[in-house]
């Protein structure tokens, strides 16, 4: 009886194949097991053999054609057999499904692996098959360690891991939107706008720590906890007033120098980095700054701030000391001209009073500034002034 030859399913994930070349011409004689066509799938060539001896009556696919699994590509019939070719094709189409159950109808030899070999059925446990299908792992070639060398769940998982080793395993995809998108855009803008310079200055914080500890109970009596960050906000506000070019923005052809100081505080939230702004800190007392900043930070973390809380910043402070960072170079929060990165407050051995060794509280202040607007000398002057206040007990007292 005439037989239709179809594209065989050679692997779980195989869906289509390309006709590479016909080894036989239409109308030519074929022997049983003789290669009549070579197809390619997943970069591997397979030879399709004739299921019986006879004549290759009809070739239905051109070389180079990409065809789905199960598609009829040729018809072979015995010599002298009479039949209606359309009926044969029609019947073949009717039995097309289910494909998996009849892959052996056409013997397949794999090339270039050498001589024709009977394709061995892959032995795998039902669970291994299910996992392989889901993870799109080809069972062929996996070494089975189960009963009778059947492939087990562990074998499939090992193969999957080996396959994915050295590549990226995406655990989830986060759409770039909302705050994340805003952060990304603003960072790119800043990076491509401001030619920046970083200056790092080590500050002896021993007096500042003492100042805070001495007044703590007094502040607590007023219902406020004053942090070193609050002291820094106050000190920076004062230094910014004294070196006003740091407290400025480049707007088009002009540099705007601001009369008031609005300090942005970088806050890490679950949704991402947010920088709320504490307004007019130059006019506020340390206690006012402490009270307002704690409310502002809390509202930010709770996701309860509005657009107005983010506006009109003139300078930003970001503190990674709590994370153990010694120094870092933050990116300027445009359109501001400078940002202060605060490092870890730590006890270190220092030389003081000329030639004495002492254990002191030490911290790095890292100033990143826009060199279009600010020159190195001004920036250094600004940092020096801030250090002077922080290291001097009398000047600290004036913050009160």
């Amino acid at each position: 009886m005439a037989r239709a030859i179809t594209i065989p399913k050679l692997g779980l994930t195989m869906e289509k194949a390309t006709i590479v070349t016909w080894m036989k011409e239409e109308g030519g004689r074929v022997e049983k097991g003789e290669t009549i066509c070579i197809i390619e799938t997943d970069k591997i060539n397979f030879e399709i053999e004739s299921p019986e001896a006879g004549i290759l009556i009809k070739i239905l696919a051109k070389e180079g054609a990409v065809l789905p699994v199960g598609e009829i590509i040729a018809v072979v019939a015995k010599e002298g057999e009479t039949f209606d070719i359309d009926t044969v094709i029609k019947q073949a189409k009717e039995v097309k499904a289910p494909l998996e159950e009849r892959p052996s109808e056409i013997p397949i030899a794999i090339s270039p692996s050498g001589p024709r070999e009977e394709r061995r059925e892959t032995k795998a446990s039902p669970l291994a098959r299910r996992i392989a299908e889901e993870k799109r792992v080809d069972l062929e070639g996996i070494r089975g360690t189960g009963p009778g060398r059947s492939i087990t769940k562990e074998d499939v998982l090992r193969a999957f891991e080996e396959r994915t080793a050295g590549s990226l395993q995406i655990s989830k995809k986060i759409p770039l939107k909302g705050i994340r998108k805003a952060i990304a855009e603003r960072m790119i803008l800043s990076w491509h706008t401001a030619p920046r310079v970083t200056q790092v200055m080590e500050v002896d914080m021993t007096e500042a720590v003492r100042f805070r500890d001495e007044h703590r109970s007094n502040w607590e009596a007023q219902g406020v906890r004053v942090s070193l960050n609050d002291i820094l906000i106050k000190v920076m506000s004062q230094a910014l007033r004294e070196v006003p070019e740091i407290n400025s923005s480049m707007k088009g052809d002009e540099i705007e120098v601001y009369g008031n100081v609005n300090i942005g505080i970088a806050v890490a939230t679950e949704r991402g980095l947010i920088v709320p702004v504490l307004q007019n800190t130059h006019r506020k007392s340390l206690v006012e700054i402490a009270r307002e900043s704690s409310v502002l930070i809390q509202r930010t973390q709770d996701g309860k701030i509005g657009p107005d809380d983010l506006k009109f910043g003139t300078f930003t402070i970001t503190n990674l000391g709590a994370y153990g960072i010694d120094l870092f170079t933050p990116i300027i929060n445009q359109p501001e001209s400078a940002i202060l990165g605060v490092g870890k407050l730590d006890r270190k051995v220092k030389v003081i009073d000329g030639d004495k060794i002492a254990i002191r509280w030490v911290m790095n202040l890292c100033l990143v500034f826009d060199h279009r607007v600010i020159d190195g000398a001004s920036a250094a002057q600004f940092l020096s002034r801030a250090r002077e206040i922080l290291e001097n007990p009398n000047q600290l007292k004036e913050l009160l």
Partner: protein, 467 residues
Amino acid sequence: MEGKTFDLIVLGGGPGGYSSALWAAMKGLKVCLIEKEKLGGTCLNWGCFPTKSLIRDSQLFSELKSSEYLEGEIKLNFGKVMERKDKVVAPLIKGIETVLINRGVAIIEGNGRLVDPKNLIIQKKDGTGVTIKADRLILATGAKLDPSPFRIDGDKILSSRDALSLKALPKSLAIVGCGRRGIEFGTIFRGFGCDVLLVEKGDRILQKEDGEISHRLRRILTLQGIKIMLHAEAVGTKISEEENLILNLETRDGEKQIEVEKVLIPGKRLGDTEGLGLEYVGIETKDGFIRVNTTLETSVPGIFGVGDVNGKGFLAHKALMEGIASVDQFTGKSMKNDLRLLPRCTYTNPEVGSIGLTQREAEEAGEEIEVGKFPMGASGRAATLGQGEGILKIIFGKKYGEVLGVHILAPQATELIALGSLAMRNEMGIEELKAAVYAHPTLSEAFFEAALDVRGEAIHFLRSGVE
């Protein structure tokens, strides 16, 4: 036999020892097996087989005795029952000896002691000594009872061995611990008509089993007249002024004293390594057991620890498979058997058979699961056996439907569990269980029904019928 050299010496003639010896001999090795007491070990002499013989007689007696439609007087001849047990075991032990000899295994009766990793001195039963030598050594010396805080006297305070050689049936018996062995002994003696009290310090019997199984079994045992005290720790015994035995218990309601004829201590187990000379060759032990790695090798290369003595569980089939697996190791084959999948059997009435994870273990391991159940009350075959109590419950992985655990409380559960073992070893799931045909009426149909039950499609019962 002075100075004789072997390829393998096996110490211990229980299931772990004789399976290793036979397997190695079949692979062409020259093997010597040393047994200090009786071939067959605990399993044949003082464990599995004697108790199974007694359980059968005990069940037969109690069923006949309590039958509402079989008439005539049934009397227990306890002595004959004990005799039958010995008659059952004797040819089995002889059989093992015959197979060993026919496979060419040299058997020496005596105590073996390691001199170095390859040389042993054997103190033979007749008092003479020999030294033998081998490249490989398998230690399969089993486990022994740790009765603490009790002292076994063989009369009032009994070990399992003592209980198996009783001359007369005690009127009352307290059993300390509701593990597999405690409950089996309870079932045996209750069946013969003895008053049985099971004392358990934990909150349920058969702690290793699925909670649902142990709760159901507890109810059944109670209905059979076995008293079970939970949250009760047996702390000691004393003799009252009237010369009666008193068992002291600490319970949640304070201390209690129970008057009882005998107390049975199935007890904890410790590795039986005394006199082996482990310390001379540096074989590490932990908590009384020989330490082995995943391939059963001890801290000394070439020496393996098989069965109870490695402390990884006290099951004859574990020892048997470990014996084969350890020989496969040094004959160059990797382990074929997944020794993590061990069926657990308790020969009560009905029986308990289980394998794999309990529902709780699966949940605690973070597995997403589906549970299929079939109550034996809905099984026609169970009804014909007059045993409608019990349940078969299968834990499936939700994503792939694979079997994670099988828990059976049913007549012949210890046979039925083989299906679970087969399914799990071959990583089958709901679909495979549903695809097979089960003879009707049989108890095994419960597998089909439980698999169908996952989708609420069981044939012979409605899901609301399961508690």
